[in-house]
Symmetry: C2
Subunit: 443 residues, 2 copies
C-alpha cells in the first residue's frame, strides 16, 4: 500500500502547545504499549506499519516540519516538501509526482489521508480496502465516508446512493448548520474526512492539464507559481465516477482543547499535581511545579510559549486571543536537537537580550554560521564538544564559555550531548539573522 | 505613637507568590492613589505615617526579611531582628527592649500589631486610641477587639464585660467551632486580632522575671536560649487588668487565596488575559503570556516558583501540596537588587547547573565572595559595572562575560543598573556555599 500523509500547518487552536513551528501532530501525548509516549504522527506511522509492513509512506508537508519529522520518525521516512503553501491540490499533485520519482508506477494506487485524526487499527484496515477498491478500477476516486456520531457542523458530508458498504456517491454537501446536518444524516450521509485513494496517473493527468507538467522536478521548481486550488475544487467536484467506502470505527478530530484531552492517556503530565479536579487535564512542560486544585472541565497547559487555563467548552474561542499574545516561538525542535527560550528582555533603547538553552544531540552539530546584528555568549552547562570559531577548532566542556562577536563565523559539534546556555545580545534578535557557510567536520 | 509591627514568617498558604524568603506582606498587589503598586507592609507603613507623621515604627522580624524591608520602606526604618524563631513573647520582649535602646522611655507606651491585615484609616485612628488608653494607665494591657462579621472558627474571641466602646475583659476564648462562635457573638464577643498596647516597663518587667534580663544586648545575644513561649501564654492569660477597645471598621485577614484576591486592585496582573472569567483573579509574574478562559471562582498564579490554578474554596487545602512541590526559592529580593532562577538542571551524575538572572541596582554591589563547590559564568545582558576578581578590578558592560572558577574571590558593582545572566556549574548549587570577604570600594 502507498500512503501519502498530509501533515498540515500549525495553528493557534492548541496554543500554547502548538506554535508557528510546532504542530499538534508532534506532541507526545499518547502512551504506547511499552509505556513511552508518542505523538500523533508517530502513532499513525507505527499503526500503518503494523497493518502493512510493506507500506510506503510519504509525508507531504512544508520545510519547517522536516526536522520534527526526522526527529520523530527517523531519517528513512520519505518527505515531499512543499516549498511554500499553495493549497491541497498542488500539494497532492507534488506528492504524487514524488512517488513516481521514487519508483512507484503510474498505474499503482495511493491512499491520501490527514495525519491528525485519532483512529484505531480498523481505520488502517479500511485504508487497505480503499486501496484495493481503487486498484479494481470501479471508479476514478474512492473516498472514505465516516459514519457520523452526531450532527456536526464542522465537517463536509457525502451522500451515497445506497447504504451498502461500498456505494457510488450521489452528492457532496458543504459544512452545514446542525439542523441541516441532522437532515443529511437521516438521508444516510457520511462525514468527509478528506481520505481518498486513486491511481497515480489519474491525478498526474489533471496536474498536466492544469499545470502543464506532471514531473516532480518541474512542479517543485515552479511550486510558488502554481494555482492555489483545493483538491475538492480541482478534482472531486468535477468527477462523476466516485465511490465511497463506509467506515464505522473510531475517528476523532483532535484539533481543539475540547477534543484533544479525550485522547490523552494521562490526566496530568510533567511536573503537575491535580487535587480534587474533575474532567480536567493538566500538561506542564515547564520545569517549575504546577498545582491545580478543585478545577472542573478545564485544560491547564504550561509551556515555554505561554500558559493556558481554559474551560473546555470556552476554549473554542482561543484562536484569536492566542494569536494576539503569541510571542516568537519559545521552543523548537531542530535537526541537531532542540532549543528553549529561558528569558527575553527588550529595553526601551532596543538593547535586547535573549537567553536560550540549546540541547545538541551527540554527534550532531550546528551549521557554520554568523550573525550580523548580535553577539552570543555560550556557556557549556553539560557535555563535551568541538567549538569552531573563524576556522579554528577547540575542545570545550562543562563550565567553558565562548564569546562570539557580530560577524564571527561559528559552529559547534556535540561529542556527548551538549547543553548550552546561550545569551544573545543585540538590537535585532531574530532567527532570520543568519548567514550559513559550508564546513566539513573531520571524522 | 510608638508602633511595633510584627512581620511574621513566610508560608506556603499563598504559594507560589510566597516562598521561604518572600512573604505575602511584600507582594505588591495594592494600587495606591498615584497608580503605583504597593505591598501590605508599604501600605501599612504609609497609612501609619499619614495618621501620625511623628510615629516611630519598629518592625520585628527575622534576618531573611531585612533586605525586602529596606528595599520597600527605605533604609531609615528601624528593624528589631530576631536571630532565630522563638515564638511571640521573646520577639515582643526583644522589640520592646530595642525601643528602649533607641531612646524610648520605659514609661512610654507602644502599640503592637501584625503587619498583614487589610485595613483602612479608621484602624489607625483606633491604634491611637489604644495608645492613649494605655497611657491613661486604666489597665496594664489594652487590646483591640474587632467586631465580628461572621462566626469565624479561625480567630480567638474576647468577651468584654459590657458593650461599651472601652470595656474590661471578662474572658478569652480559643478558636471555637462555628456553632460555638455563634454563641460567643450572641454574648457580645469580639475577634482577637493580636493588637495591643502597653507601657514598655510592663513587658520589660515580665522579661526580667522570665529571662533574668530586660536589656536588648543580652536578650539579643542569648535569644536562641530564651524560652519558646507565646505572648498570650506569658502575658495575657496571667493578667487580670485588661481592657478592650471595640473596632468596627474594615479588617481583613488576607492570608489565603480565598481572601487575598478581595483586596487586590486588579483582576489580572502581569502579562495576562482573562476572557469570560467570573470572580477569577490572575497574577502572572512570568514573562510568557497567560490566558484564562471561561474559568469561575478561581485564582491563577504564575511565578518563578510555580503555577497554581485553584478554585478559591478548595485553595485552603493548598498548604500541604505546596510544601511538597516547593523548590529552592526561585525569586528573591536582596539588598543589592533581586534574582530570578531561569533554569535548574540536575543530572544523574550530580552534574548540576543553575541559570539565574541578577538585577543589581545602580550603585549597589554584591559582597566580595567565593564558592567552594561551583564555578560561575556571568554575562552582562545590560548595564555597566566594575568587576572585581581576586583583587583586580575591571570595567564590564553589555556583552562582556566573566568566568569565575571555584574558590576565586569575586564581586561586582553596578554603575548603571546591571542585568546579568549567571550560569552556575557544580555539584552542590546552594546559596549557603559562600565565603564573604571584606572589601572597600573606591568612590
Amino acid at each position: 500500500m502507498n500512503i501519502i500523509l498530509l501533515s498540515g500547518g500549525s495553528g493557534t487552536r492548541l496554543w500554547p502547545l502548538s506554535n508557528e513551528v510546532r504542530s499538534k501532530q508532534f506532541l507526545k501525548i499518547f502512551k504506547a504499549e511499552d509505556g513511552t509516549y508518542e505523538s500523533m504522527i508517530q502513532r499513525m506511522y507505527r499503526m500503518i506499519k503494523d497493518v502493512d509492513p510493506q507500506a510506503t509512506v510519504t509525508i507531504a508537508t512544508s520545510q519547517n516540519q522536516v526536522a520534527s519529522i526526522h526527529n520523530q520518525l527517523g531519517s528513512d521516512v520519505k518527505i515531499s516538501i512543499e516549498p511554500c503553501r499553495r493549497d491541497t491540490f498542488p500539494a497532492i499533485a507534488l506528492a504524487t509526482s514524488f512517488l513516481v520519482k521514487n519508483g512507484v508506477s503510474e498505474d499503482d494506487v495511493v491512499v491520501v489521508c490527514p495525519v491528525d485524526p485519532y483512529v484505531n487499527r480498523d481505520y488502517f484496515e479500511c485504508l487497505k480496502r480503499l486501496s484495493d477498491e481503487a486498484k479494481s478500477g470501479a471508479s476514478k476516486l474512492t473516498l472514505m465516508g465516516i459514519e457520523p456520531t452526531f450532527p456536526s457542523p464542522k465537517y463536509g458530508y457525502i451522500i451515497p446512493e445506497t447504504a451498502e458498504e461500498v456505494a457510488t456517491v450521489r452528492e457532496f454537501k458543504e459544512k452545514p448548520d446542525t439542523e441541516t446536518a441532522r437532515g443529511y444524516i437521516r438521508q444516510g450521509a457520511l462525514w468527509n474526512g478528506g481520505i481518498f485513494a486513486y491511481r497515480l496517473k489519474y491525478v498526474l493527468d489533471i496536474a498536466k492539464t492544469r499545470f502543464h507538467t506532471d514531473r516532480y522536478d518541474e512542479l517543485f521548481a515552479h511550486y510558488g507559481e502554481l494555482e492555489k486550488i483545493s483538491f475538492d475544487y480541482a478534482v472531486v467536484e468535477r468527477e462523476s465516477s466516485i465511490r465511497v467506502i463506509r467506515f464505522h470505527g473510531e475517528w476523532k478530530d483532535l484539533g481543539t482543547w475540547n477534543t484533544l484531552p479525550d485522547a490523552m492517556s494521562d490526566v496530568t503530565s510533567g511536573n503537575s499535581t491535580a487535587v480534587e479536579c474533575e474532567n480536567t487535564h493538566v500538561i506542564n512542560e515547564l520545569s517549575i511545579p504546577l498545582i491545580a486544585m478543585g478545577i472542573r472541565n478545564a485544560v491547564v497547559v504550561a509551556t515555554p510559549d505561554g500558559i493556558l487555563v481554559a474551560d473546555k467548552d470556552t476554549s473554542s474561542k482561543l484562536k484569536g486571543y492566542a494569536a494576539e499574545v503569541a510571542l516568537r516561538p519559545m521552543y523548537e525542535e531542530r535537526l541537531w536537537g532542540e532549543y528553549k527560550v529561558l528569558d527575553y528582555q527588550v529595553d526601551a533603547n532596543g538593547e535586547n537580550s535573549l537567553t536560550k538553552e540549546l540541547i545538541i544531540h551527540a554527534g550532531k552539530h550546528l551549521s557554520y554560521q554568523s550573525h550580523s546584528s548580535r553577539s552570543e555568549i555560550w556557556t557549556v552547562a553539560n557535555g563535551e564538544g568541538e567549538f569552531l570559531l573563524n576556522g579554528e577548532i577547540r575542545r570545550v566542556s562543562r563550565g567553558d564559555s565562548m564569546h562570539i562577536r557580530e560577524g564571527e563565523k561559528h559552529a559547534i559539534r556535540a561529542i556527548t550531548e551538549l547543553r548550552i546556555i546561550e545569551v544573545q545580545i543585540g538590537h535585532e534578535l531574530v532567527e532570520e539573522d543568519i548567514v550559513r557557510y559550508p564546513y566539513t567536520w573531520a571524522d
